[in-house]
């Protein structure tokens, strides 16, 4: 008998239709996988009950080891044991020069742009190493959930650039995981605390891990988190606390000798354990005994605070800088979320609380909070929640549109629309017998295509020939959760289709987006004028073209010379107006031409009907009605 989980009212899925999705916190030091079961997000342990998987991969003679097993061998087999691979993600060979000098790995000098680490199993890239970590987490999830995974939400630091994000996605694909989306780590932490459904405002995420510190200032607005600023220190964390305490022990012992590597390791382990205990008790006894080294003594909470205060102050400085970058003050901050194991240290909580002048949120295990948030998001994206509970986490920064006749940009998805989103619009042909249509995808707020950014062009060809306006072409714009735009065009009668994928944000910096937005404000009235003018010009062209076609067909037959002259005169006037730049006078000229043609149009219609009915009796039509 299968084991069942509790569903939300009315949401029970049929057997074999569970949609299991997980959240993965792919960390520098440790990784975690979490999922939502019975409405509760929880991290998943391995067979030994460990939730944290050390992000360490060892290419051993017997195969690949990930996690604890690899950690144990890091010391004896350093060149085949890869730690902190996250720091290498999405980096080019050139970026790694400085890193390579301080790391034990042998980087291959391959001709490819992607740096590879030389191991006994061959050269491996950072993506491949990360994929091993993800594979291990995936196996854990599948064993726990006993079902197929729909996909995963993987978290990345807010400061990750496109290349680093892409590398993370590549690693997931290599591990056989379907990435529902990448989520910023601070956003995940905020989601875990349910802040996405809370009050709108500024939220600070203080993330102090083992070896890195990140501060992110987010703004929640209409259910969307916007990253206002990020800051931190990639070489500051709980390990530095341990180091400082270890040095203190060494100093207290009075030992003058240069400590051996193994003594340093032992001291750090003792320091770490003392630090962890001091989160619960006021004072700990420490005893270090090895070879010719012996020290016994005690460390109080306040002593430790004095020791590590300079380090915590560095994080506070970074917080201050980030607030300034975000152009907000501590009073604007509604909530402070604590992430990372080192935020268990009481001195950290106190100093952060003092700085932001509010009690930081600590109720969720700070090691797990990011994974929990990712799991909640994965659950929603997998479709396990009703639509109205859909989390809105990202918006489109600039409108996405299509070029229409006259070089006008018709917006299909407006800026600030939350993603994922799909919008369709129907277009038709402009000329009789038209069998192809060019689709030009543009981005921006301006009315004319020339003022927007061109993203892609493609043609939809070979649909059946019809009179203008009779063909229906549905153009669909779809933006997935990662901001990837897919534009497809489909002629509805023949089913002919064409599509293209683009990454709208690619190569655009925030300041460029801002410039584009500001331009659209500055040129708002010009743009409106241009749009109206172009619209009238296109309309004028269409009217003239239709008139010419009609005159050619039955003009001689249905019109007197005088009538014909009048129409010709109005036609010339319209063409003159069209050449000018006054939308109103074009509009008036179109009206004049239309009224000059009114009788002609009526006569054409009558004659068409007469032709159509010739040889048929009225009864036939009446009969049709009765059928």
């Amino acid at each position: 008998m299968a084991l069942l989980q509790i569903s939300e009212p009315g949401q029970t899925t049929a057997p074999h239709q569970h949609r299991l999705a997980v959240g993965i916190d792919l960390g520098t030091t440790n990784s975690l996988v979490a999922t939502v079961r019975s409405g509760d997000a929880q991290t998943l342990p391995d067979e030994q009950g460990h939730h944290l998987l050390p992000s360490v991969v060892r290419y051993a003679e017997t195969g690949i080891e990930v996690g604890e097993a690899a950690v144990e061998h890091a010391v004896i087999d350093p060149s085949n044991t890869i730690v902190s691979v996250k720091r290498l993600m999405g980096r080019a060979a050139g970026d790694l020069k400085s890193l390579a000098e301080s790391s034990p790995y042998l980087f291959s000098t391959s001709e490819s742009a992607v740096p590879k680490i030389h191991t006994r199993s061959g050269d491996v890239s950072a993506v491949e190493v990360s994929a091993e970590i993800l594979k291990t987490l995936k196996a854990r999830a599948v064993a726990t959930l006993g079902d197929d995974l729909v996909g995963a939400v993987i978290t990345v630091p807010a400061y990750f650039d496109d290349a680093q994000r892409q590398a993370t996605k590549d690693a997931a694909r290599l591990a056989g995981l379907n990435v529902l989306r990448l989520l910023n780590e601070p956003t995940a932490a905020a989601v875990a605390y349910g802040l996405d459904t809370g009050q709108e405002g500024i939220i600070a995420i203080y993330d102090l891990g083992g070896g890195t510190f990140d501060i992110s200032i987010l703004r929640l607005k209409q259910g969307v988190f916007e990253v206002l600023a990020t800051g931190g220190d990639s070489a500051l964390g709980g390990d530095d606390f341990d180091h400082t305490i270890a040095e203190w022990i060494l100093e207290q012992s009075g030992s003058k000798k240069v400590p051996s590597a193994s003594l340093v390791r032992l001291l750090k382990r003792e320091a770490r354990s003392a630090k962890e205990q001091l989160a619960h008790v006021d004072e700990v006894n420490i005893k270090v005994e090895t070879g010719d080294f012996f020290w016994q003594g005690s460390l109080s909470r306040s002593q430790m605070r004095t020791l590590i205060e300079p380090l915590i102050k560095k994080t506070i400085m970074a917080c201050r800088r980030s607030l300034r970058d975000a152009d907000v003050t501590t009073e604007d901050v509604l909530e402070v979320v604590m992430v990372g194991g080192s935020t268990r240290t009481l001195a950290v909580r106190e100093m952060v609380g003092d700085f932001f002048q509010r009690e930081p949120l600590v109720s969720i295990d700070p090691d797990k909070v990011v994974a929990v948030g990712a799991a909640l998001q994965a659950d929603v994206l997998a479709g396990n929640k009703p639509d109205d509970e859909m989390l809105l986490l990202d918006v489109i920064p600039l409108s996405l549109g299509i070029e229409t006749m006259g070089g006008l940009a018709e917006k299909i998805i407006y800026r600030n629309t939350p993603i994922p989103v799909a919008k369709a619009q129907d277009f038709t042909t402009y000329k009789d017998g038209q069998t192809a249509m060019a689709v030009h995808v543009v981005q921006g707020e301006r009315e004319l295509v020339d003022d927007c950014r061109s993203l892609a062009r493609f043609d939809l060809r070979g649909f059946p020939s019809h009179v203008a306006g009779a063909v229906r072409i549905r153009v669909t714009y779809q933006v997935d959760a990662d901001g990837l735009l897919t534009v497809s065009a489909r002629e509805e009668n023949s089913g002919i289709e064409a599509s293209v994928d683009v990454k709208p944000s690619y190569g655009l910096t925030d300041s460029e987006i801002e410039t584009m937005l500001r331009d659209s404000m500055d040129h708002a009235s010009d743009d409106m004028h241009s749009r109206m003018l172009r619209e009238q010009q296109v309309e004028a062209e269409r009217v003239v073209e239709a008139l010419d076609a009609a005159l050619k067909k039955d003009g001689d037959e249905l019109l007197s010379d005088e009538e014909r002259n009048n129409i010709a005169q109005a036609r010339v006037q319209l063409l003159e107006a069209k050449a000018g730049d006054d939308a109103e006078s074009i509009k008036a000229a179109i009206k004049t031409l239309e009224s000059a043609c009114a009788d002609y149009v009526a006569r054409r219609m009558n004659s068409n009907i007469r032709n159509a009915m010739q040889g048929h009796s009225i009864n036939e039509y009446a009969g049709k009605d009765q059928e």
């Binding site: 008998m1 299968a2 084991l3 009212p9 009315g10 029970t12 049929a14 057997p15 074999h16």
Partner: protein, 107 residues
């Protein structure tokens, strides 16, 4: 007859309800679905309907609609752990046969 929750199951349900922040109990039932005809329903309850029966078990309200009760009367729901997986288990005396995966059953 009645529906019962074992103590471990009841404790779990209480925990989940507390985390969820709302809900008055646990709905058990059946739905015609799956490869062997019927599947179990196990959901949180925010509202009790007129045709529901309510059983109180180890401090948890178990709510079953009258139609489902015919199929699951006498069932004991347990919380079990199998390897890395954990979840709720229906011990239904009326169950005759299950599909291979055990997610659906016949009576």
């Amino acid at each position: 007859m009645a529906i019962t929750l074992t103590e471990p199951a009841a404790e779990r349900v209480k925990g989940f309800l507390k985390n969820r922040g709302k809900g008055i109990g646990l709905r058990l039932g059946v739905k015609t679905m799956g490869c062997s005809g019927m599947g179990y329903v196990i959901e949180f309850v925010d509202e009790i309907n007129p045709d529901d029966e309510v059983f109180e078990n180890n401090g948890v309200k178990v709510i079953v609609d009258k139609k489902s009760l015919v199929y699951i009367d006498g069932t004991e729901v347990d919380f079990a752990r199998e390897g890395l997986n954990e979840g709720f288990k229906f011990n239904n005396p009326k169950e005759k046969d299950q599909c291979g995966c055990g997610e659906s059953f016949t009576v």
